[in-house]
Assembly symmetry: C2
C-alpha cells in the first residue's frame, strides 16, 4: 500500500510517462560497464541535442529551486549551519541565496541545498520521490561563481545531473528507499558530481572516478525526517558530489565500477537494481521532463482540497462571509496527516486540512505566507475553519478530493478534483510558478530583486554568465 501510494501519487502518469526506460531492450545493457557508459554520456552529450521542451522544464526547475532556497534562507536550520561552519569556511567565493554572507563554493553548495529543502516545498521526481534540483543546482550555482559558466552550459549540466541521479534512483526505487535511505541524499552526490564534473570538463576516465567518489559518500536516513538533518541531506549531497568532481579533476583515482561492482553502490545500498534504467535510451529520454513542483506549502495530501477551494473561490468570487459550511470528501490519509482542528501557530496550520481549506477561500492561496502565525490567527480564517467538515472516502486517491461549499443563501457549489494541480497531468503554469516564487521571496529580497531573479531564471539559457543570477538572489549590492 505504501509503495503503491508513493508511486501513483499525484498522477499515475508519472510512472507511465517513463516506461519507455524500462522493459524493452536497452541501447546499452552491459551491466559490467554501467559507470563507464554513464560517464561517457555525461562528458559527451551535446547541448543542442537536448530538446527545447526539456530545457524549458529544467528552466522551470531552476526557477522553483531558486525560490525555495530564498524562501528557506532564514530558517533556523540555515542560521545554525552557517554559524557552525563559517569559522572553518573559505570566504567570499560564492553566494548564500537570500542572505548577505558569502562562503567558499563547497560550503555555499551545502547551505543553499539546506535552504532549498528546509520548507519541504522543492521539486519532486514522482517516480522515485527524489527532490532532484537540490543536490545538483546547489552545486553548480556555487561553481558558477568560482569559474565562468554560461547559461547554456549551466542548463545542460542541470539536465544531465538530474538525469544521472534520477536514473540511478529509478534503478533502485523503491527497494532502496524502503530500506530506510533518504534517496535524495544518496543519489544526489552522483547528480552533483556529474553536473560539476561536466562543467569542469572532466575526461571520461575522470568522470568514472567522480562517480566512484560519489558512490562512497551517500547521505541520509529516513529516521531524520522531522529534524534539521533532513534538509542537511540534499545540501551535503551537493557538497559531496562537488567534492568528488574536483578531486577527480586532479586525478584522485577511484574504482571505475563504483555503481555496479559487487561491493559498489547499488549492491551495497539496495536489495534490487535494474541497470537498464541507468544505461537504456541515454540521450533519448529525460527525467527532468517528469519533474513536478508543489503549488502549496503543506503536506501534499492537502493539495487537491486547496486546489478545488481556490477554483471555487475564483469561479464564484467567493468571500468567507458568503460561506455557511464547507464539506470535504477526502482520502483517509488527509485526516490522519492533517487532522488538527484548531491550529494556533503557523507550523500547526500545515497539519490542518481545516485551515488549508479556509485559507484557500480567505486568501486565495496557500504558500508559505498562508502558514504563518499571522495567517493561522487571522479571525476571518479561524471562523471559517470551524465551518469545515471532513468525510473519509476510501475510493478517493490522494491527489483527488470532492468539495461542497454551502452558501448562506442556500446555494451549493460542487467541485471534484481528479488530479491536483502540480501533478504531471496538471502541471503548474509558468505564471503559477512565478506566483509561488513571489510568495517565497517577498519579504526576503526587495521587490525589484524578486522580479530580476525571476527574469534571470527564465532567461538562463541565453545568459553569458550565471554568476549574475547567484548574486542577484542575495542581499548583496547589485
Amino acid at each position: 500500500m505504501g509503495k503503491i501510494n508513493r508511486r501513483t501519487f499525484l498522477g499515475a502518469s508519472a510512472v507511465a510517462g517513463s516506461t519507455a526506460l524500462s522493459g524493452e531492450a536497452a541501447a546499452a545493457d552491459d551491466s559490467s560497464e554501467v559507470t563507464r557508459i554513464l560517464a561517457r554520456y555525461i562528458v559527451s552529450a551535446k547541448p543542442d541535442d537536448i530538446p527545447a521542451a526539456v530545457k524549458k522544464e529544467a528552466t522551470r526547475t531552476l526557477l522553483n529551486w531558486t525560490g525555495c532556497a530564498i524562501g528557506g534562507s532564514r530558517q533556523p536550520a540555515v542560521d545554525n549551519a552557517i554559524a557552525a561552519l563559517t569559522p572553518f569556511a573559505g570566504t567570499g567565493q560564492a553566494s548564500i541565496l537570500g542572505r548577505m554572507e558569502r562562503l567558499d563554493a563547497l560550503n555555499a553548495s551545502l547551505i543553499n541545498g539546506i535552504s532549498s529543502h528546509v520548507l519541504d516545498f522543492d521539486d519532486t521526481h514522482l517516480r522515485t520521490i527524489i527532490h532532484p534540483a537540490g543536490p545538483v543546482a546547489s552545486a553548480i550555482l556555487a561553481l558558477s561563481e568560482y569559474q565562468p559558466v554560461s547559461g547554456l552550459e549551466f542548463l545542460t549540466a542541470l539536465v544531465l545531473g538530474i538525469e544521472v541521479e534520477c536514473r540511478i534512483g529509478n534503478a533502485v526505487y523503491p527497494e532502496h528507499y524502503d530500506a530506510g535511505w533518504h534517496i535524495t541524499g544518496t543519489t544526489g552526490p552522483f547528480g552533483a558530481a556529474a553536473a560539476v564534473g561536466r562543467l569542469l570538463h572532466l575526461s571520461e576516465q575522470q568522470m568514472t572516478w567522480a562517480l566512484g567518489l560519489a558512490a562512497v559518500q551517500p547521505v541520509g536516513l529516513r529516521e531524520m525526517f522531522g529534524s534539521m538533518t533532513k534538509s542537511f541531506h540534499p545540501g551535503r549531497a551537493a557538497q559531496n558530489g562537488f567534492t568528488a568532481a574536483v578531486l577527480a579533476s586532479k586525478n584522485f583515482t577511484s574504482s571505475e565500477h563504483g555503481i555496479e561492482a559487487k561491493s559498489g553502490w547499488a549492491n551495497v545500498l539496495s536489495t534490487a537494481r535494474r541497470y537498464n534504467e541507468i544505461t537504456g535510451k541515454l540521450g533519448q529520454t529525460y527525467e527532468v521532463a517528469l519533474n513536478t513542483y508543489k503549488p502549496f506549502a503543506c503536506g501534499i495530501v492537502g493539495h487537491p482540497i486547496i486546489d478545488g477551494c481556490i477554483q471555487l473561490r475564483d469561479e464564484n468570487r467567493l468571500k468567507a462571509l458568503d460561506v455557511a459550511r464547507i464539506d470535504l470528501w477526502v482520502n483517509p490519509l488527509v485526516v490522519e496527516l492533517m487532522g488538527k482542528r484548531s491550529p494556533k501557530a503557523g507550523l500547526e496550520g500545515k497539519f490542518s486540512v481545516y485551515h488549508a481549506a479556509a485559507v484557500a477561500i480567505t486568501e486565495g492561496a496557500a504558500g508559505e505566507q498562508q502558514f504563518t502565525d499571522r495567517a493561522v490567527q487571522r479571525s476571518e480564517t479561524a471562523d471559517l475553519r470551524d465551518r469545515v467538515f471532513t468525510t473519509i472516502d476510501k475510493n478517493l486517491h490522494e491527489d483527488q478530493a470532492r468539495i461542497r461549499i454551502t452558501l448562506r443563501d442556500g446555494r451549493t457549489l460542487d467541485k471534484t478534483v481528479v488530479h491536483a494541480v502540480g501533478s504531471v497531468t496538471r502541471p503548474m503554469s509558468d505564471r503559477q510558478l512565478e506566483q509561488k516564487f513571489e510568495g517565497l521571496a517577498t519579504g526576503i529580497l526587495p521587490a525589484d530583486r524578486v522580479r530580476r531573479v525571476i527574469d534571470l531564471c527564465w532567461r538562463i539559457e541565453s545568459l553569458p554568465g550565471v554568476a549574475s543570477l547567484a548574486s542577484a538572489a542575495t542581499l548583496q549590492a547589485a
Copy 2:
C-alpha cells in the same frame, strides 16, 4: 572461511580479549536508547577513571598514527587532494602533517586522515578490522589548533572516540563489512563526532544530535580498495564526524535515535546488530586496549615470515652471503597475495614474500624504506630473493610461519612463529614503535624534528596544549 580468517587473524586472543563485552547481562541494554546511553557516557566520562594502561595504549596509538600520517604525506593521493581542495579551503588554521601547507581544520582533518591510511600501515582493531585512529585523531588534532586543547583532554577524547567507533563496529561486524562497507569509514564518523563533541563540551542532547548527524554520513565501499579513494574513507570520516559535532554545537537538530531507530544507521547499514556491544560495560572495558600496529610495511600475511627471518638474523648475526637457501612453510594466502617472484619496483616488493624474506635478512627491517625501488633493486637482496622457496601448509594460520635457513656451511637454522609480532599477543615494543616512526618520518622531517615529535607523543598526557605537537610534525618553522 573469510570471516573466520579475519576474526582470528594475528591472534585469536583479539576476540577473546573482548568477550567481556558480549554475552553476559549488559549494564544497560535498552535498545531504544542506544544513542542516548552512548551520548551520556561520552559527555560524562572522567579522564581520571581511564586506567593508566589504557591511556598508555592510546599514547602508542597516537605515536603510530602520527608516524603513518607523516610517512604518507608525500603520496600522490595527498598531493592530489590538496591540489583539488585548497582553492575552496579556509587557510592557516591547522597543520598538514609532514608538509608546509595549512588549511582550515575541517579540510586538515580530511587530508591528515588520507595521509595516515594511504600506506596501509596504520593501526588495526583486529576484531572489526577498523583502523581506529584515522578518523578520530585526524579530527581532534585539527581541532586542537582551532581551540586550546590540553594533552589530557586530547587523550581522553582519543580514547572515547575510538571506544565509540569500535563498539559500534563490534555491534555490526562482520555482517556490515561483508555487505561491502569499508567499516573504518562508516563507523569513523561516530568516533570523530564523539571525540570532537567531547572537546567542544556538547551537552548530552547535543551529543545525541552529533551522533545522528554522523549516522547519515557513512563513507566507504570495499570496491575502492586499490584506488586512492580507499584512503579518502578515513579522512572523510574524520571530516564528517567533525562537521557533525560543530553542527550539533550550534543546535542543528537530528534524531535522538540515529543508531538504533528503525530507519537508523544499524538497521539500514547492517543485516545484524547487537546493541549490548555498544551499551554494555561502558567505562569498564576499553577497545583501544586491543589496538595493534603493523610492524612491517607490507600485507599482513607476510608478517610472520619477516618476523622470523629478522629473529634468525639477529640471533645468528647472519649476512646474506652466509645463506645458501631459505625455505618457508606458509599459509596458502601468502602465495596467493605475495607471489611475485621478481619484483622490479618498490610497490611490487610489497607483493613478494621472496623479497620480504630476503630484505629481512639483508637489512634487518621491513619498513617503508625496505619497499622502495632502491631496496628492491639492491643486488644483494635480489640475489638472495632467488634462493627463497615456499611450501604451502594449510595447517598454519595467517599469523604463523615456519622458516628454515640453510647456511653455506651446511648448518640449518629453524624458527617457528606462532604469533607474529604486532599481534595482541606479541605487541610491538615502545622501542619498535619508535623505530617504525623513525623509518616513516626520516627524509620527510629533519632528524631533530623526528625526535621532537616522538617525544611530544610520549608526553601527550601532560602537554598543556596539543597544537605544539601538530605544528612540530610539519615543515613549518618551530
